[in-house]
């Protein structure tokens, strides 16, 4: 692997679903000689694009798991993570962004900045990942890359500057004019593999000069040399522009924008040039870990091969040779036979086969040096684990993970399926921190939880296909919560004398609403409750949070303050105070006006203008709130908030109301109190389920 890290790029490709990520990646692999044939995502040959290695992805035409791949371009090593586009799988996007140094943000030249682009952009901001933008689909009817650049500025707040202008648009899209070299580039050959440089067409000269001036003006903010050259009217070299734009991009203060059509094989090679020219190398990025031996102090990680190894496992996959763990090495390097420590479990392990991935093919390597992405076989770990070499006990920062909002019961149909299902669930929970599973103690059903209907659908399908587990699924259930709405007091005495040692504990105080899940405040003075029993009190209250007294949903948003109590020298014990806390909780909870809360989803519909009214009507029907609707060309974007419980089956209804022309994305927004009538309905259903279970 390349040891000159200036010549390494770890990049991701992120965008809204159907913006052409996978198509673009295919072209990149073709032009970098990693593949010798181009397959389309929904190609006529039925093979599907190479990066969509899972069966399901090939069928649905969406990418649901990051496939890592490696290629070389002009002597540079480029590691690419293809990221999923659907909101339900954003944990994959987040994980990729965690290990990447730069991103190509793909935008559709017709639809422009869409809802998912906004989500992806927020994630890029969170992980401070520099990006360049590629306005794809310039061959489509209605293509307008400059409108998209305006949207990048206005909607996402990017300082977006065009680095190219298109030569023709829609069906006349032929190539691009590079505003740095001021040359025209055309793409010839069956797959556009021959990039031909020509003089730019006369009719574009004026526009090119004007846009170039604006570009140089924006870039000059990041280079004194360039500013001086402008002011002194000296010639401006290409290098000056490259350096300035690169500096601005790496500081996340500039977004250079490229354009073309991956599907029509136009302008992908200049985008590859841009990756090496403008996106940062591992040396340009500051990464940090926390030192577990020094009170979680932050320590910088340096891409130095001689320093102790620090690597992050960001993706797991089950292959025919066992578990494959994708790693980003931040410091040192992993060689075959190296002894590594998993800092989460403390377990030591020896590095076995190391490989570099090319989607589903693999190439064995001797080492994965700092700054690179690779994979290792035979390591038992979870996604997000940190591996270190000797001498350091570091952990990479924890990733931002959301709580699941929907659950589904799954029931294996036979014994074999039960074993396979268990294997599958074990794997999925390790791979995906937003996918959770547990066994309901009351019904003995296995419950899976995730971020949306599609998220769970995909895992159920994978269980069937990859693990041959025949399972029957129940109705999706919404993750309701209980909470209180006002302050209430408690003064509870737990007293039991039934022979043998007695139990005694009194706790007094109050509970009140808070934004946190649970808070415990100890205001006991004068030893009314001895210190050794305080943790038991806290535990007793916490135990009650798992299942609310009102409707057995998990409780959230409660602050408990204890300020008085009593104990008995002989009869008080930890157990007695835990029991007293439970009693106190029940006493206060009933008086604190408990309510049910439900997850509210941010739903964004993109529809042709003529269906705007009916789409808004669909939101109305679902207890939704329309925040706004905006016309963007021939499409309208409707932003709304809708309770998750009302969204089941929405895609079918939306399709039938809009002749299949509208699409929507959905992501978790917040929890909100359910209206009284709905709460009554939930209570009724809960009661019915209880009766059903008793039968």
């Amino acid at each position: 692997m390349q040891r000159n890290l200036e010549k390494v790029r770890n990049i991701g490709i992120s965008a809204h679903i159907d913006s052409g990520k996978t198509t673009l990646t295919e072209r990149v692999l073709f032009y970098t000689d990693r593949i010798h044939k181009i397959s389309e995502v929904r190609g006529k040959d039925g093979t599907g694009a190479l990066m969509d290695s899972m069966e399901l992805e090939k069928e649905r035409g969406i990418t649901i798991a990051s496939a890592a791949t490696h290629c070389e371009w002009k002597g540079y090593d480029i590691n690419i993570i293809d990221t999923p586009g659907h909101v339900d799988f954003t944990v994959e996007v987040e994980r990729s962004l965690r290990v990447l140094d730069g991103v190509i943000l793909i935008l559709c030249s017709v639809s422009g900045v869409q809802s998912q682009s906004i989500t992806v952009d927020q994630q890029m901001k969170r992980y401070e990942v520099p990006c360049i933008a590629f306005v794809n689909k310039c061959d489509r009817s209605g293509a307008n890359p400059f409108k998209v650049i305006d949207q990048l500025k206005n909607k996402l707040g990017h300082n977006a500057i065009p680095m190219q202008i298109p030569i023709g648009l829609e069906d006349r899209h032929d190539g691009v004019v590079d505003l740095v070299t001021m040359k025209a580039y055309y793409f010839e050959g069956q797959f556009g593999e021959k990039m031909v440089e020509k003089e730019m067409p006369e009719d574009l000269k004026e526009e090119a000069a004007r846009v170039r001036e604006e570009m140089i003006d924006a870039a000059s903010m990041f280079s004194d040399d360039l500013t001086d050259a402008i002011l002194e009217e000296k010639p401006i070299s290409e290098k000056m522009i490259y350096d300035a734009v690169r500096r601005g991009t790496n500081a996340r203060e500039l977004t250079p924008v490229f354009m073309g059509s991956a599907y029509k094989n136009k302008a992908v090679q200049p985008l590859l040039n841009a990756v090496v020219e403008y996106l940062p190398s591992p040396l340009d990025i500051e990464n940090e870990a926390i030192d577990l031996d020094k009170n979680e102090e932050t320590v910088p990680l340096i891409s130095d091969f001689e320093k102790p190894t620090v690597a992050l496992a960001f993706k797991l996959e089950d292959g025919k040779f066992g578990q494959l763990t994708y790693l980003r090495v931040y410091q040192g390097g992993i060689r075959k036979g190296d002894l590594l420590t998993n800092t989460r479990t403390g377990k030591k392990l020896r590095a076995g086969r190391l490989i570099r991935m090319h989607s589903s093919d693999m190439e064995e390597v001797d080492e994965i040096p700092a700054g690179h992405i690779g994979a290792i076989f035979g390591v038992d770990c979870a996604s997000g684990d940190t591996f270190t070499g000797s001498g350091v006990n570091y952990s990479m920062m924890s990733m931002h993970i959301m709580d699941p909002v929907i659950s589904l019961s799954v029931k294996p149909l036979d014994n074999k399926s039960e074993i396979n299902m268990s294997k599958a669930l074990n794997r999925f929970t390790k791979e995906d921190p937003t996918f959770k599973t547990y066994v309901d103690k009351e019904t003995s059903e296995t419950i899976i939880q995730g971020m949306g209907e599609l998220h769970l659908d995909v895992y159920v399908e994978r269980m069937k296909r990859e693990y041959s587990a025949d399972v029957k699924t129940g109705q999706p259930r919404v993750a309701y919560r209980e909470t209180i709405t006002r302050k209430s007091t408690f003064n509870y005495t737990h007293k039991k004398q039934t022979g043998g040692a007695g139990q005694f504990g009194r706790i007094a105080g109050y509970m009140e609403p808070t934004d946190e899940w649970f808070e415990f405040v100890n205001k006991i003075t004068g030893g009314r409750i001895p210190t050794q029993y305080i943790p038991s009190c806290e535990q007793g209250f916490k135990d009650c949070m798992a299942k609310g007294p009102k409707m057995q949903f998990p409780v959230t948003g409660i602050r408990i303050t204890i300020d008085d109590g009593a104990y008995h020298a002989v009869d008080s014990s930890e157990m007695a105070f835990t029991a007293a806390a439970r009693g106190a909780f029940l006493e206060a909870y009933a008086k604190a006006k408990p309510v049910i809360k439900e997850p509210i989803m941010k739903v964004v519909i993109e529809t042709p203008n003529e269906f705007q009214g009916s789409c808004m009507g669909l939101i109305n029907q679902r207890r939704g709130i329309i925040e706004g609707s905006q016309e963007e060309g021939v499409m309208s974007v409707i932003e709304s908030k809708v309770p998750l419980s009302e969204m089941f089956g929405f895609s079918t209804v939306l399709r039938s109301s809009t002749q299949g022309k509208a699409q929507y994305t959905m992501e978790y927004s917040n929890y909100k109190q359910v209206p009284q009538s709905v709460a009554e309905e939930i209570a009724r259903k809960k009661e019915e389920e209880k009766k059903e279970d008793q039968k």
Partner: protein
């Protein structure tokens, strides 16, 4: 309590009258560009939001983010005008009322009242409370709007909704013989109420043009907040 105080302070209520805001088919706020028509319309709409009634804000100029920002700004101006208010209380009230506003942004060339009708029908169909008022911002009254206004009039009648328009006048244009700006003169038969805003020294003067019960009532507004200068 806070709601009532804010409604009382509203420049729209004080100038037009609380009941008069809703007892119209069509109302208009007129001024030349940049004086504050939209901000004044937002103050009109806020009086409904403060009663927990839905409003429909249709704009042919502003994207929805800007519309949302306008409402927050207008709410803050209104809160600030009554002196000290517990910020938490003000925030809670804003959280309560902000979702009653539905912002719709259209291109002027493709705006079609039919879309509004389809949307409003869905309220009736699902037995939901209809919006209490429509704000229509950005229609160009220099053009022939007869067809559009007729359609909107039908909507207003069918759903019992007052529609408040912004109407842009021009500095260099003379008034009509009736004393009205020419934009209003052309369509005055359709409008029950009109408020004219025009700069006067460093303030904005507001005049109710079409209300005979309030002859010669002038109010001065602070151009930064559109609140009445006491």
């Amino acid at each position: 309590m806070l709601k009532k105080d804010l409604i009382k302070r509203s420049p729209a209520v004080r100038i037009i009258g609380e009941e008069e805001i809703e007892n119209v088919h069509f109302g208009a706020v007129l001024s030349r560009a940049g004086v504050g028509k939209t901000r004044y319309l937002v103050q009109i709409a806020l009086t409904k939001l403060l009663k927990n009634e839905k409003i429909l804000h249709i704009s042919l100029n502003d994207p929805i983010e800007k519309i949302k920002a306008r409402y927050l700004e207008a709410y803050n101006d209104l809160v600030d005008s009554i002196g000290y208010v517990d910020p938490q209380k003000a925030l809670r009230l804003w959280e309560e009322i902000k979702n009653e506003k539905i912002a719709l942004s259209y291109n002027e060339n493709t705006f079609d009242p039919e879309k509004i009708k389809v949307y409003l029908k869905s309220f009736k169909k699902d037995d939901l409370a209809l919006p209490a008022l429509i704000v229509m911002d950005g229609l160009d009254f220099d053009r022939d709007l007869n067809e559009t206004l007729t359609e909107l009039e039908k909507i207003s009648e069918r759903f019992g909704l007052p529609v408040w328009y912004s109407m842009q006048t021009h500095r260099e244009q003379d008034f009509a013989q009736s004393g009205y700006p020419v934009q209003l003169e052309k369509v005055k038969g359709r409008f029950d109420k009109a408020v004219f805003l025009h700069p006067k020294n460093d303030k904005i003067e507001s005049v109710v043009l079409t209300d005979e019960s309030r002859p010669n009532e002038y109010y001065l507004l602070d151009p930064a907040t559109m609140m009445i200068v006491e």
